[in-house]
């Protein structure tokens, strides 16, 4: 039963299967200006995973494998390939694993926190409205003196007492 539900949840996210092996890159667009190449490479590299260090991106890691990937990425950037093409290029070689950020088809991982947020806000609204409807405070006799004070001062004393 639980397993079944779990499979259902996952089935929603499963469609993607292995990328094409040899992406025929279309002719590159206009190469970027030379001074932009490094920044673009760093930006694209930040989304690509270093294969040996595992947690880091190839922009951050200076491991041998990451450096080679980074250099190749720079070549591709300089030749005018855009970010999507470069990502496809690496996915074809290392698999989807190489992308640090799951693609849109894994929408569950993207949407679930949003659903959590929606549920949470709904819960918030329910609790707040319940609190609001609670009968109005009947001050204890000892509190009467307080209540008659300036509301801010009451709050302050309240705090100090805390």
């Amino acid at each position: 039963m639980k397993a079944l539900l779990f499979v259902l949840v996952l089935a929603l996210t499963a469609r993607a299967n292995g990328p094409e092996v040899e992406p025929e890159l279309p002719p590159p667009g206009a190469p970027p200006a030379a001074e932009e190449v490094e920044a673009l490479t760093r930006e694209i590299g930040a989304g690509l995973r270093c294969p040996v260090c595992q947690g880091l991106s190839i922009s951050d890691s200076r491991a041998e494998a990451a450096t080679m990937m980074y250099d190749r990425t720079r070549e591709l950037v300089a030749a005018g390939y855009d970010e999507d093409q470069i990502r496809d290029y690496w996915v074809a070689r290392y698999g989807e694993w190489v992308l640090l950020e799951p693609e849109g088809k894994h929408w569950l991982v993207w949407v679930a926190p949003g659903m959590g947020l929606g549920l949470g806000l709904g819960w918030l609204a329910v609790v707040v409205s319940r609190w609001r409807k609670e009968p109005d405070e009947v001050p204890l006799p000892s509190e009467v003196g307080l209540v008659e004070r300036d509301p801010y001062e009451k709050r302050l004393l309240d705090e100090i007492d805390n």
Binding site: K2, F6, E22, P51, M68, M69, Y94
Partner: protein, 183 residues
């Protein structure tokens, strides 16, 4: 008052969250989280044309018709040195299979020194910029690719080869059928 009243809602939601969670954590056992999966198995091997240590050109496309074993290695890698003696014997044991070493992120003089000591029983190719290694999705060394006579990658082995794993993969490669269709 204290007769036990079960909050079914808490129970159901709690179990719905926790049971799959434990299942997922348990599913990770027995797998190596550091292994990078290969997406290339069963796919055509990326072509390359490189030169060996003596300057002779080698292109994968020119090797079609016989099984090929590509071993990515370097002199700074200990496991590579462990499997090296096995690979040294391999061309004699499997005469129908072509063995190539591809040097990964290493200095040519260091490789030459190493090969001068051990003897060069099969060609070792220089891979400038690691381009071929990147095409094969190599994450670390040693990695060994087994390519059948039709140019498809049949298997990938990560880490040092053992005699059994080598024989198994070579047999698999020899027995590989031609690709289904695709012009």
């Amino acid at each position: 008052m204290s007769r036990s009243r079960v909050n079914v809602w808490v129970l159901v939601v709690g179990l719905l969250i926790t049971a799959p969670f434990v299942y997922v954590l348990a599913s990770g056992f027995g797998k190596d989280p550091h292994a990078v999966p290969s997406v290339l198995e069963g796919k055509p091997a990326p072509d390359f044309s490189l030169v060996d240590m003596d300057g002779n050109p080698v292109a994968l496309s020119s090797l079609a018709g016989s099984p090929v074993v590509l071993n990515f290695w370097s002199t700074w890698c200990q496991p590579c040195k462990i499997e090296h003696p096995l690979l040294q014997q391999a061309p004699a044991v499997f005469p129908d299979v072509k063995f190539y070493g591809i040097i990964y992120a290493d200095q040519t003089p260091a490789v030459r020194r190493f090969l001068d000591q051990s003897g060069q029983r099969y060609p070792h190719l220089v891979d400038p910029g690691g381009r071929t290694a990147l095409d094969y999705g190599v994450a670390g060394v040693p990695e060994t690719f087994f390519i059948d006579r039709y140019g498809q990658i049949v298997a990938k082995h990560v880490g040092p080869l053992s005699p059994d794993s080598l024989r198994y993969a070579v047999d698999l490669t020899r027995a590989s059928a031609p690709p289904k269709s695709t012009p």
